[in-house]
């Protein structure tokens, strides 16, 4: 019974919220393209690459890539810390 009520209420709220978003956007004609027109026009002479996606990732918006590398590094450190074995001289695992 509780599952049924959760299902119906979430169905109504989500459809109303997201349906408005899906119906008012047009597919194939983005509204604001000023920044991307600048990237496509001047990207080749200012960065020297042919691939504009890579030039946006590594040169025009390099700070986002720096943050993403740090997040991946911290996730690997987290996995390595979870599976740690007991060292010599410890009695309990959580010291």
């Amino acid at each position: 019974m509780k599952k049924f009520i959760v299902l119906i209420v979430s169905l109504i709220i989500l459809s109303a919220f997201l349906g408005v978003i899906a119906m008012t956007l047009t597919f194939g004609a983005p509204k604001m393209t000023d920044m991307d027109d600048y990237f496509l026009r001047f990207g080749q002479e200012q960065t020297g690459t042919n691939n504009q996606c890579t030039s946006v990732t590594f040169d025009f918006r390099g700070f986002d890539t720096l943050g993403e590398s740090t997040v991946l590094f911290c996730a690997v450190i987290g996995v390595a810390l979870i599976f740690r074995k007991m060292q010599a001289g410890e009695e309990h695992e959580d010291e």
Partner: protein
């Protein structure tokens, strides 16, 4: 309504993802619901930057000069890598929980130990 098909797919996938996270009792199934939500957000980002009749924004032997927008593709790349990091950590937690409690049912994992 049929020309908005990518956005309607995003709505359906978000709905499936949220229902899975709310109603399932196994940790691995909740993690799969989180992955479905990530896929819906990535699809939404990429389909926002499409121009009618455009090709990929690469100048090496391109067929035409009308290109799609490159910025949403760079943001999607970051989002995919963060999804990988989240899934790796949640799976490690599931392995340690199974070793300590003996089950992965979230109704039975209720005490804080230690």
């Amino acid at each position: 309504m049929l020309w908005n098909l990518p956005f309607i797919t995003v709505v359906v996938l978000t709905f499936i993802g949220i229902i899975t996270v709310l109603l399932k009792k196994n940790i691995i199934k909740i993690l799969l619901g989180i992955n479905i939500l990530e896929s819906a957000v990535n699809l939404f980002l990429v389909s926002l930057g499409y121009r009618e009749g455009g090709v990929a924004p690469i100048f090496t032997l391109a067929p035409s000069n009308l290109m799609v927008l490159p910025t949403p593709q760079a943001l999607t790349l970051t989002s995919i890598v963060i999804g990988v990091a989240t899934s790796a950590l949640v799976l490690s937690f599931a392995m340690v929980l199974k070793k300590k409690y003996g089950t992965v049912d979230i109704d039975k994992i209720r005490r804080l130990q230690g």
